[in-house]
Symmetry: none
Subunit: 223 residues, 2 copies
Amino acid sequence: MYKILAADDEKDVVSLLKDYFEMNDYLVITACSGAEAIEKTALGPDIILLDVNMPDGDGLSVCRKIRGNVSCPILFLTARIEDCDKIAGFAAGGDDYIIKPFSIDELGARVSAHIRRDHRIKAQANVRYFGNVTIDYTGKTVSVGEEILDIAKKDFQIIELLSVNCGQVFDKERIYERIWGYDSQGDSSVIAEHIRRIRARLAKFDEEYHIETVWGMGYKWKR
Amino acid sequence: MYKILAADDEKDVVSLLKDYFEMNDYLVITACSGAEAIEKTALGPDIILLDVNMPDGDGLSVCRKIRGNVSCPILFLTARIEDCDKIAGFAAGGDDYIIKPFSIDELGARVSAHIRRDHRIKAQANVRYFGNVTIDYTGKTVSVGEEILDIAKKDFQIIELLSVNCGQVFDKERIYERIWGYDSQGDSSVIAEHIRRIRARLAKFDEEYHIETVWGMGYKWKR
DNA sequence: TATTATTATCAACTTTTTATCAACTTTTTT
DNA sequence: AAAAAAGTTGATAAAAAGTTGATAATAATA
């Protein structure tokens, strides 16, 4: 299930987008201001629909901050053709824009195309090596030396989150948000348990721990 | 404007790459041998396209020298599928490979994806250096030389507050407000104790004090 | 120099956070 | 439907962090 972050200050537009995409099995995160949009990038959307003219701050500075947080494609929504040049100048490789009023199906088609393209690109070159441990993000496997470990889905997701952002500390709430979804209310012991199992699996073949506890702050992946 | 270093002994390939990427607003640096490629890493490319089978020296030793010079992603070009394993074994985190013959647009897409990803990662790494002391605000670590110190949460928060606002004096109440929160009622000896522990940890490996007492006023971080 | 206010140090103590385990529920596979 | 695997929960143990108060040391001031 793909996550869409839809940011627009017009409530009508947001709710239209929400209804439409939820009907099509997307998970929709909404934001009604630039600031809110920037915050919610933390939830790791697969694509961002972004109105370029929101009241707080000028559009492009919001974009720039968002670009700093995520690498997913951004689809800019604009009511003014004049903005297109500015957008084009700003947009990164995978980005695109659409002019209001737009056909919702047209938007839907583009969204799905962009997500697929982005995932395809990201699916390439998708193994990393951490000492003895090899993680294949495409094949969803973790191996120590020649040995391929049995890693359950949630466990793999945690490994993925931490190892991709190697060295960065994630507290339990953050982990919960990213993997279970932002609205679930996390029990910290759930994560502790998953971490324990991951460590147990890794330790069986590798003396390295890889997931390090940072007391009071969370966990991080060590290479 | 991004810099690409394109290294291949086949002139045709090099000029194809040069034309294509210059058309797409990249600055292209070319090299026709391993030695030349190593030299030109000094120009600080954002990505390196590297043919693994160049005549001078074996491919991987060239790679290794390049890796020693730069931290940007390397995209290996290879004509032989057999090489892929070797490459995979050598490649660092952000690297990738593509097999000849390749679609130039596919290559273009990957190059742009890799550059963006690499820049994003580098922008995230949030470290500062104070003499011997390195503070990683993302990884929540403080190190003196090679030695990573154990710093507890509150201690780290104090270090963070002071070092980010290096040179500025914070009295104890201010520190309390910022770290414990406005409503908590601070005991000055609590902070004194934390400061003591921080100093003890730093002093173990570094003669520098870094946290300076300003009599009657508070504490400040000295670089 | 004596006095006072401020800061430093230490060790005992309390609280918070994490680890571990076993039982249980849910989901997936056979 | 049964079996197996994955995921969740709560109780308890263990570890680490945080706090406190008594006392010593230090700097500023009279």
